[in-house]
């Protein structure tokens, strides 16, 4: 049996829900469609208006290349988080669920004490951070996510007094009503929103843990001297993903640890098991034996990218129908390999399939179901 509760992950639509605030005012997620929304699943007693939040936010912003902005104040007004940039004020909807056993948490598959999700204007989850109460979020991963969500461009960076004056009064919620062009404000608004999401995530851990500059952290982790992270831009499942990575980060680790796409599995990490199989420019490859930095501009497809919305890809459906797995750990790699196989010159017999799939090891021994699933899809194609 498949698990009945699945996690809402990056790239997936955010399920709708209604939350009420202290004054009894209700707000549903779908009401806010058309603008980015921060979903914060936080422990009871969490207060977004702590003084150190400003430091968190500003320290974080300082690490994003090309962005120069100083946040002077954060306040909450119902579901709105007000961000004061010294004359310019932005309002970002923050839906905070502080009920540890709430059913919104359950619908999002959140089992960790705290989680922050960023939902984009189309209602798609763009970033997800979850962890234990005292787990320190990785500053470099947060910065990488920020960079991915809001690539620093002149528009984004432009929080100069003149630009602020130009945009004064065009708060996110009013902008749509006014029908103003979206380009500039949307970009900046998304940046601010994502930055806020990161700041919120950081805010639940002690300030001291996150105050040291990113470069120092990386240096501390690197025996024998640090190598500066380099910007890497991939297209993952059709979405542009910009990351800041050390050259030694494998494609597998970039996907799992930096992009939050944990569908791709790390088995042996030495190219012997096939669990990490992804498609690079349409061909199956082992993401553990290649560096992310070697894939600048490449199209990467992971298991998260196969289904069309709620409709499983034929190979995914066939694996379920033919019991092509037991524990499931190798399954993502098996399915990615099997999907690529459809476009390779693989012979017609079961033995041909076994040969072509020999790079994907299944410890449970689900091979008969795997071969049957692949043959079924090939017959129907």
């Amino acid at each position: 049996m498949l698990a009945t509760v699945s996690r809402v992950d990056v790239g997936m639509p955010a399920p709708d829900f209604v939350l009420s605030d202290a004054e009894g005012q209700s707000r549903s997620l779908s009401d806010l469609r058309g603008q980015p929304v921060v979903l914060a699943f936080l422990p009871p007693g969490w207060d977004p208006v702590q003084a150190e939040q400003l430091s968190h936010f500003n320290a974080l912003v300082a690490q994003v290349p090309g962005v120069d902005a100083e946040l002077l104040g954060i306040s909450m007004d119902g579901h709105w988080c007000r961000l004061d940039f010294g004359g310019d004020e932005l309002r970002v909807p923050v839906l905070a669920d502080r009920d540890p056993s709430g059913d919104v948490r359950a619908r999002y598959g959140i089992t960790e004490p705290q989680a922050i999700l960023l939902v984009d204007a189309d209602g798609i989850v763009r970033w997800r951070h979850a962890g234990a109460m005292n787990a320190t979020p990785r500053a470099e991963a947060l910065v990488a996510a920020l960079t991915a969500l809001a690539p620093p461009s002149p528009e984004v960076a432009d929080l100069s007094p003149e630009a602020i004056e130009r945009n004064r009064g065009v708060a996110p919620c009013m902008q749509e009503a006014a029908g103003a062009p979206f380009t500039i404000m949307t970009t900046r608004r998304e940046f601010v929103t994502s930055a806020l999401a990161a700041a919120l995530a950081l805010a639940v851990v002690p300030l001291a843990a996150t105050a040291e500059p990113l470069a120092d952290r990386l240096a501390a982790r690197s025996p024998g001297g640090a190598v500066a992270p380099v910007p890497v831009s991939l297209r993952v499942n059709g979405e542009r993903l910009s990351l800041l990575l050390e050259p030694r980060v494998t494609l597998l680790d970039a996907l799992r640890e930096y992009a939050g796409l944990t569908g791709t599995k790390k088995g042996c990490d030495h190219g012997q098991c096939g669990a990490c199989t992804v498609h690079v420019n349409g061909r199956r490859q082992l993401s553990c034996l290649t560096l992310a930095v070697m894939h600048e501009g490449h199209d990467i497809t992971t298991i998260e990218g196969l289904a069309q919305g709620e409709t499983l890809a034929p190979m995914q459906a066939a694996f379920i129908e033919h019991d092509g797995f037991q524990c499931g750990y190798c399954t993502a790699g098996q399915i990615m390999s099997a999907t690529a196989l459809l476009h390779e010159p693989c012979g017609p017999a079961d033995d041909d399939v076994r040969e072509c799939m020999s790079g994907n090891i299944c410890r449970c021994g689900a091979y008969p179901g795997i071969v049957a699933a692949i043959q079924d899809v090939r017959r129907r194609a």
Binding site: E246, H270, G274, R283, L289, E296, R354, N360
Partner: protein
Amino acid sequence: MRPFEYSSATSTTAASRAAGADASARFIAGGTTLLDLMKLNVETPGRLIDINALAVNEPAMTAITETAGGGLRIGALVRNSDLAWSPVIQARFPVLSEALLAGASGQIRNMATVGGNLMQRTRCYYFRDTAMPCNKREPGTGCAAIEGHNRIHAVLGTSSRCIATSPGDMPVAMAALDAVVRVRSVRGERTIPLVNFHVTPGAHPERETVLQAGELIVGVDLPAMPWARRSHYRKVRDRASYAFALASAAVALDVAAGRVRNVRIALGGVGTKPWRSPAAERALVGQPATAAAFRAAAELALQGAVPHRDNAFKIELAKRTLVRALTTVAGMA
């Protein structure tokens, strides 16, 4: 994995210059051997020079083209799967296509390149384990395999310093096909017959090829050999697929009126380098294409083989593998 500097080269000249200036530099293409060994700290390059982007400016690096003499020129960045599935390779040099498809897995063949495959390093357990002595990894520390577990080790071309097996399949087929490796550096280009490209361990197991500092493999030439249409690669291993050879044979055979007119023989899984057998070839020419003659040639091919505690079986296995490969080709229409 140790940190390293990374750069992507846009020309073979730039790549060669960068590598020549830094003794700790390695080229990276498919990365399937190098990154595996870097994770084990067996390879610890200070700089990686990514040569994948070379193909943009130098399309010959990923091309398979006809040469004037009727042979083929294969770019160093051609992926193993593309070479294996190339119709011209399948038609003219089936042994090469079969050798490639007998190696690694579908995913790895999509990554691994011709040049990288020539540089593939041994699977000796002790070479891969930094807790063990190994003359190849750390010259002068000794060889743990000679007195240790050596079932997968070589019986041909060994020395008192090293018995590590050359692991590849593609180079074995290329050795049989008289392939020539083309290498380029800031000093210009030179060619090396593939059988001379790899060297036996001797007193210096750390040295595996004749490549000099800064030299980059840019391709492999296969000379015309029309009769290599009748060629075959036979590989014997512990499981049916996705395993290294215990013994393998790459053969091309030209039979006229029941007699051997021409033959090429190379062995894999048993040598410290891709093992061409000129003595066996010489002995077969002019002989009837029979199992008895093939067996006699196989005896010659394994003459001088030195077994260790666990790998004596390879000597007989290699002979039978070679006889089977020759018999298969002799039976081809």
